[in-house]
C-alpha cells in the first residue's frame, strides 16, 4: 500500500517536474519571440547604465596592468579583415593615404592623416579587453586620446553621440559602426589606438586605427575607424540602435 502510494507520488512528481521544465523552457522561448517581452528585458540595460554611471566617478580609470601581464596571444575577434578592394589598397600603401574624418555636429570639421595623428600627443595603456563572450586579454595600446580630437573640432552643445564608422563590412554587406556618448570621449583612456604591444596595429586587430573604450565590453572597441560623426540621435544610422552588434540585439550600454 504505502510503497505503491510512494511510487505513484514519485511518478506524479517526475511527471510534474518534467512538464514544468518543458513549460518553462518553451514558455521562455515563446516569450523571447513575443513583441513585448524583449522590450521589457532591455529596460534592464537602462537601469544598469543609470546606476553604473552614478556609482562610477567620471574619470575613474580602468585598471592598468604591467608589461608582465600582457597576453601572449591577443585574440582577434569579429571581422579580422575588411576584405574590400579599397581597404586592400590601403594595406598595400601601408595606410599612407588613410584619413580620419571628424564630422557632424562640430564647430570645425577636420580630418587627419595617420601620420598627422601620430604626431599628436599619445597615450599608452596596458588594459584588459573583456569580450561579451566571456574571455579577457591584456594588451598594450598606444594611440591618440579622443578628447584631443574633440578639442580640435569642438562639438556643438546638441552633440550627444560619437559614431565611429569603420571600413569593414560583413558577409551581407552591412557596414560596421559603433557609438559612444560624447561625454565618454573625454575619458582619458578613450583613445584611437594605432599600436598594439609596441607594434603598428595589424589587420586582424583593426589596422590602422581602432577605438579603445576601456570601461566597456569588447564589441564597443570599433576597428578600422575611418570617420567619427557627432550626432544628436542614433536613429537613421545603420539599424538605429547605435552599432553593428546593437542592431543585432546587444545592449548599447556595454558596461556589464
Amino acid at each position: 500500500m504505502k510503497s505503491e502510494r510512494a511510487m505513484e507520488r514519485r511518478r506524479f512528481l517526475k511527471g510534474t517536474l518534467g512538464a514544468a521544465s518543458l513549460v518553462a523552457l518553451s514558455g521562455c522561448d515563446n516569450l523571447t519571440q513575443s513583441s513585448w517581452l524583449p522590450s521589457i528585458l532591455s529596460k534592464a540595460a537602462r537601469w544598469t547604465e543609470t546606476v553604473q554611471r552614478a556609482v562610477t566617478p567620471k574619470d575613474a580609470l580602468a585598471k592598468e596592468y604591467g608589461e608582465a601581464d600582457i597576453s601572449k596571444i591577443f585574440p582577434a575577434n569579429g571581422n579580422t579583415d575588411p576584405g574590400t578592394e579599397q581597404y586592400a589598397g590601403h594595406v598595400a600603401q601601408n595606410f599612407s593615404e588613410w584619413m580620419l574624418e571628424v564630422v557632424g555636429l562640430v564647430q570645425t570639421p577636420r580630418s587627419w592623416s595617420l601620420a598627422a595623428l601620430k604626431e599628436l600627443p599619445s597615450r599608452t595603456q596596458i588594459t584588459r579587453h573583456d569580450c561579451v563572450e566571456g574571455w579577457s586579454a591584456i594588451g598594450k595600446w598606444t594611440g591618440v586620446p579622443v578628447s584631443d580630437l574633440m578639442h580640435h573640432v569642438e562639438p556643438l552643445p546638441n552633440a550627444r553621440y560619437a559614431v565611429f564608422h569603420c571600413a569593414d563590412v560583413d558577409d551581407e554587406g552591412l557596414a560596421y559602426y559603433e557609438s559612444i556618448a560624447v561625454a565618454d570621449c573625454y575619458h582619458p583612456q578613450t583613445i584611437l589606438a594605432y599600436e598594439l604591444n609596441s607594434s603598428p596595429l595589424d589587420v586582424p586587430h583593426g589596422a590602422p586605427l581602432r577605438l579603445r573604450f576601456e570601461r566597456q565590453l569588447g564589441y564597443k572597441q570599433a576597428k578600422y575607424v575611418m570617420k567619427i560623426e557627432l550626432v544628436e540621435s542614433l536613429a537613421g544610422i545603420g539599424g538605429g540602435k547605435g552599432g553593428y552588434w546593437e542592431d543585432q540585439g546587444y545592449e548599447w550600454y556595454a558596461g556589464i
Binding site: S21, I40, A45, V55, L61, D130, G134, W135, S136, Y250
Partner: protein
C-alpha cells in the same frame, strides 16, 4: 490519499481550539501547544513562514531558474574557465568542447584540470549540436548570446532587489538571528544531525517545529554567503564596475577568476536546489508546500508522548 484527508480533518478540528502559535517563537511553542494524551497522533498547526518570507521564496523560484538557465547560455559563448585576469587558452581550468575524431564522429569532451571526460549527449555535443550545455538547459534554448544576456541581466536586478528586501526583513524581524543562525547547542549536535540526515531520519514532534542545524547552516550559507558571492562576482565581471570598485578584482583574484567563482557559486545553488527539493519531498511534500504557501505547518506529536 485516505491518510491525508484524515489528517486534514484532524487539523480543522484542532484549528478551532488551538491557540495560534506565534511564528518563530520556538522557545515558547511547547508551552502554548496543548498536546493531548491519547493513543492516536496529536496534530498541531504551527504558523511557520510569515508572508514576506513566503513571497520572497516563491519569487526566487522563477528568478533562479531563469538566472541559471540564461547563465548557461552566456557560458556557452565561451565554454571555458580560468584563474587570474586573462583567459590564456592553454591555462584553462575547465573546458567543454566538441571534438571530431578521425572517423568523423563528434564527441563532447569536458576537461577539468587536465582530466578528460566523455560527456557526449549532455556537455559539448548534444542532439547533434556542438554546444557546451544542451538546449534543454539554456534560455533561450537556441544559441543566442544577446538574448541570454537580456534575460540574465534583467532577472539579476529582480534577484538582487528581492534579496535586499528579504535581508532587510530577515534582520528587522529577527528571522535571521532567531531561526537561521545556529545556536551553540545546535552546533554541538551537528554530528547527530548529520547521521540522521544520512539515514533519512527526520525530526518529528517538537523538533520538527524549528529548523535543524544542517538546515540552518544550509539556508544561512546560501542566503548570506552564496547569494552575495554570486552577485559580487557577477559585478566583478563588469568592466565599468571594476573601474569604480577595483578591490573586487583584488579579492576575487582577477576577472576570469571572478567568472570561475560565479560558475562554482551557481553550481552550489543548483546543488542546494536539488537537495532542498529532495528534502521537501522526503519530509512530507504536501505539508511542506502548504507551509510555504499558506504559512501553516502541521506537526504530529506521538500520541503517548506528552510534554505538559
Amino acid at each position: 490519499m485516505a491518510l491525508l484527508i484524515q489528517s486534514e480533518e484532524v487539523i480543522s478540528r484542532e484549528g478551532d481550539q488551538m491557540p495560534i502559535v506565534e511564528p518563530s517563537a520556538s522557545e515558547t511553542l511547547s508551552t502554548v501547544s496543548t498536546p493531548m494524551v491519547s493513543s492516536s497522533p496529536v496534530i498541531e498547526r504551527v504558523y511557520r513562514h510569515r508572508l514576506p518570507v513566503r513571497i520572497s521564496h516563491w519569487l526566487n523560484v522563477p528568478f533562479l531558474i531563469i538566472l541559471i538557465m540564461s547563465g548557461l547560455q552566456i557560458f556557452n559563448a565561451h565554454p571555458a574557465l580560468y584563474w587570474g585576469d586573462r583567459s590564456d587558452r592553454d591555462q584553462a581550468l575547465l573546458t567543454i568542447k566538441p571534438v571530431q575524431s578521425e572517423s568523423g564522429e563528434v564527441k563532447g569532451i569536458t576537461t577539468v584540470l587536465d582530466h578528460q571526460f566523455d560527456t557526449t549527449g549532455v556537455l559539448g555535443y548534444s542532439d547533434g549540436m556542438r554546444r557546451a550545455f544542451p538546449a534543454w538547459a539554456t534560455i533561450p534554448s537556441a544559441k543566442w548570446l544577446a538574448m541570454g544576456r537580456q534575460w540574465h541581466l534583467f532577472f539579476a536586478w529582480l534577484f538582487v532587489i528581492n534579496g535586499l528586501i528579504f535581508t532587510a526583513y530577515a534582520f528587522a524581524s529577527r528571522h535571521a538571528t532567531r531561526d537561521l543562525a545556529p545556536t551553540g547547542k545546535d552546533l554541538r549536535g551537528i554530528g547527530k544531525s548529520l547521521r540522521d540526515h544520512l539515514l533519512l531520519r527526520h525530526p518529528s514532534g517538537k523538533e520538527a517545529k524549528r529548523y535543524n542545524v544542517l538546515q540552518k547552516l544550509a539556508y544561512a550559507c546560501i542566503l548570506f554567503g552564496m547569494a552575495p558571492l554570486i552577485v559580487l562576482t557577477g559585478l566583478a565581471m563588469s568592466p565599468t564596475i571594476d573601474t569604480a570598485f577595483p578591490w573586487l578584482l583584488t579579492i576575487f583574484g582577477g576577472r576570469q577568476a571572478a567568472r570561475t567563482i560565479h560558475f562554482v557559486a551557481c553550481s552550489s545553488f543548483v546543488g542546494f536546489i536539488v537537495i532542498h527539493v529532495l528534502q521537501v519531498i522526503l519530509t512530507g511534500f504536501f505539508n511542506n508546500i502548504r507551509s510555504m504557501v499558506t504559512g501553516w505547518f502541521v506537526v504530529q506529536h506521538k500520541g503517548v508522548h506528552h510534554e505538559v
